[in-house]
């Protein structure tokens, strides 16, 4: 091969993409562990519900600003969703609204009307929830529309919770990427230099990258374990999500701390930190992204489709133009 596409430059680029892919896979696994350990989703849901229901005394506990929320969490519809004392990770809006209305209308037995909710609101002491609900139900014509209004209020709050969760997840991704990068000294500039100078290592990395490109894209997919029930699938993660022992061993050769740090000049440190930052940014792009890039590079390198791609694409029997209309 000649030109850039048959050159060392392309192999170094493939090596870097491969390293980013493996680091991103490790980061994903670590993130899942963090999410499981910190139980962040239930915690944030509790925080969101507390924002809605806190600072509201009840007629039975007029001086306790946490009385209403305590009653909310003692309600059988809510305790039924808890695993022991563990807060659920999800609470449907209908359940939330039903419990709130039930607590405010508990004096009334049997079928409840909007007037029962209005009476309930009139009798509880002043508090944040009372003010919010008065504003929500003032235009409700019946209990059903009041329930819908409360559900909408809760769903708006849950969108905020989702926003918090997303930001927290993104923050954890950066933190985990930072830890992995620094601990492994995954300095992009240093790695590129090593791959450039060491043809044996470069060749080993490219060979391993080839094997990786043959694996499925890191992804989740859905399978139907019972062929007689097409409405009940399960989610499976594929083998593309795991880093093999060979890949881990190769990462160990490419990355790591070598030599004495005492000899490093300020220029060395500047380069290293710049290299870390590039790596962190790359990890944050995610494994599926780097897998796709790796496949593109492999296709270019082999001047055509990868073997598995070629196998997937049938010979064109008929070439029709793209659809022009619906």
């Amino acid at each position: 091969m000649s030109g850039i596409f048959g050159s060392t430059v392309l192999d170094v680029a493939i090596g870097l993409v491969f390293v980013y892919l493996l680091l991103a896979l490790l980061c994903t696994s670590a993130n899942e562990l963090v999410a499981a350990l910190t139980k962040s989703r239930p915690k944030l849901l509790k925080k969101g519900i507390t924002q809605l229901l806190d600072n509201q005394p009840t007629d039975l506990a007029k001086d306790d600003s946490g009385a209403f929320i305590n009653e909310f969490y003692r309600h059988p519809l809510v305790t039924g969703m808890m695993n022991g004392s563990k807060h659920p990770a999800y609470l449907p809006s209908r359940t939330f609204a039903t419990v709130v209305i039930d607590l405010l209308t508990r004096e009334k037995a049997g079928r409840k009307e909007i007037s029962d909710l209005e009476n309930g609101l009139a009798t509880i002491p002043s508090g944040d929830l009372k003010h919010a609900l008065l504003a929500l139900v003032q235009s409700a014509e019946d209990l059903e529309s009041a329930q819908k209004a409360i559900e909408g209020w809760y769903e708006d709050a849950m969108d905020r919770v989702s926003g918090w969760y997303k930001r927290r997840t993104q923050a954890w991704t950066v933190v985990v990427a930072l830890l992995i990068t620094v601990l492994a000294n995954a300095d992009t500039i240093h790695v590129a230099r090593r791959l450039w100078r060491d043809p044996v290592l470069r060749s080993a990395v490219v060979e391993e990258a080839k094997s990786r490109a043959q694996k499925p894209r890191p992804s989740v997919s859905v399978e139907y374990p019972d062929p007689d029930d097409p409405t009940n699938p399960t989610v499976v993660t594929n083998e593309g999500n795991t880093v093999s022992a060979d890949e881990r061993a190769l990462l160990g050769q490419v990355l790591g701390w070598q030599g004495s740090l005492a000899d490093n000049t300020s220029r060395d440190w500047f380069e290293r930190i710049l290299g870390w930052l590039i790596t962190i940014l790359a990890i944050c792009l995610g494994a599926p992204f780097w897998f796709d890039i790796l496949n593109k590079f492999m296709n270019v390198r082999s001047a055509g489709k990868s073997p598995d791609e070629a196998a997937k694409k049938p010979e064109k029997r008929k070439l029709a133009p793209a659809d022009k209309s619906a």
Binding site: I4, V9, L10, V12, A13, L16, V17, R41, A89, S93, E155, M158, D159, V161, S162, G163, K166, T169, I189, A192, R193, W196, R217, S219, V220, S221, V222, E223, Y224, D226, P227, D228, D229, P230, T231, P233, T234, V235, L285, G286, P288, F289, D292, I293, K296, F297, K312, K313, P314, E315, K316, R317, K318, A320, P321, A322, D323, K324, S325, A326
Partner: protein, 307 residues
């Protein structure tokens, strides 16, 4: 090469490759809507038809499929919307009604279909009112279709689910590898599900379906798992590695045929792809609000039996 030059070249190569991005469009759907329709064949709504062509498409191949399509608005789906009657020349009563219809809501039932074909350039969010009049006549940018229609203004058009005479659909060996290779990202909030994907095509596929399980009655239709083969190939080489959900509408000739067959039997059919919202819903249920990259899950609407 000088070290700096080398690094710059590598960096440029990486940068160039990473900036080749797909022109994805996001469809944001209400989670409760997804949950309601995901295991249904059809949907019913009151559609105000804004525009439609005077006559059905001609029949040849590709978009010349003999359908009549109409763009409109409704208060249930609340997305840019196009509805289509298959084999429209076979349905003179419905065609006459369509031509004489004013800008008034009309009851319409048909197979719901999400497909990233006419995606345009703007994200589509359920609940955002469709512009009036529809921006591009009878075929505006849209991701949601009612296609094929089963009842139009009280007129039953279930008998339109038959072969379109003279129409050449895409062979399975071209269409299914293409469907299998659509990239997508899916993400959920507490109340919405966002599906992002790029341009998709191949509306109609000609394939042989091998029944892989028992059909499940979902009220308005049947869902069954099926393997997919090319009608010109052998039954030893499926053109898609996975089984796919096949959607049959009750009262149509393909559904009647399905009920006479058993696991392992085959049918030569005309199918239309749509996003599999059951898979989408499950993935978002398992992944919370995390973004998931995957191949676009799809299922096939069975539109006709082929000889």
């Amino acid at each position: 090469m000088k070290p700096l030059k080398r690094l710059t070249t590598v960096a440029l190569l990486l940068f160039a490759s990473t900036t080749i991005c797909r022109a994805d469009i996001t469809l944001a759907l209400n989670k409760s809507f997804v949950n309601k329709v995901r295991n249904k064949a059809t949907i019913t709504t009151n559609l105000t038809v804004d525009a439609h062509p005077k006559d059905p498409h001609s029949i040849k191949d590709d978009g010349e499929d003999g359908d009549i399509h109409m763009a409109g608005r409704d208060s249930l789906i609340q997305l840019p919307l196009v509805a289509e009657i298959l084999n429209a020349r076979r349905e003179p009563t419905a065609m006459q009604l369509l031509k004489t219809l004013g800008i008034v809501p009309v009851s319409i039932t048909g197979v719901w279909r999400i497909w990233f074909e006419h995606l345009g350039t703007i994200d589509q969010i359920q609940g955002t009112p469709a512009p009036n009049p529809a921006p591009k006549g009878s075929n505006p940018d849209h991701l949601f279709e009612i296609h094929p229609i089963t009842t139009f203004a009280g007129v039953d058009v279930l008998d339109s689910f038959v072969e379109v005479p003279g129409y050449q659909a895409y062979p399975a060996s071209i269409a299914f590898p293409y469907y299998d290779d659509r990239d997508a990202t899916i993400q959920a909030s507490q109340t919405a599900i966002m599906i992002a994907s790029g341009q998709a095509k191949y509306n109609y596929a000609d394939f042989v379906m091998e029944i892989a399980g028992k059909p499940k009655d979902v009220g308005d239709g049947f869902i069954v798992l099926g393997n997919v083969y090319d009608s010109a190939g052998s039954l030893e080489n499926p053109v898609s590695a996975k089984v796919h959900r096949m959607i049959f509408v009750k009262g149509t000739p393909p559904a009647a045929k399905l009920l006479t067959l058993s696991k392992g039997d085959t049918m030569h059919v005309l199918g239309i792809p749509r996003v599999n919202l059951t898979d989408v819903f499950l993935i978002t249920s398992k992944n919370g609000t995390n973004q998931v990259s995957l191949k676009l899950p799809y299922e096939m609407i069975i539109a006709a039996l082929l000889p």
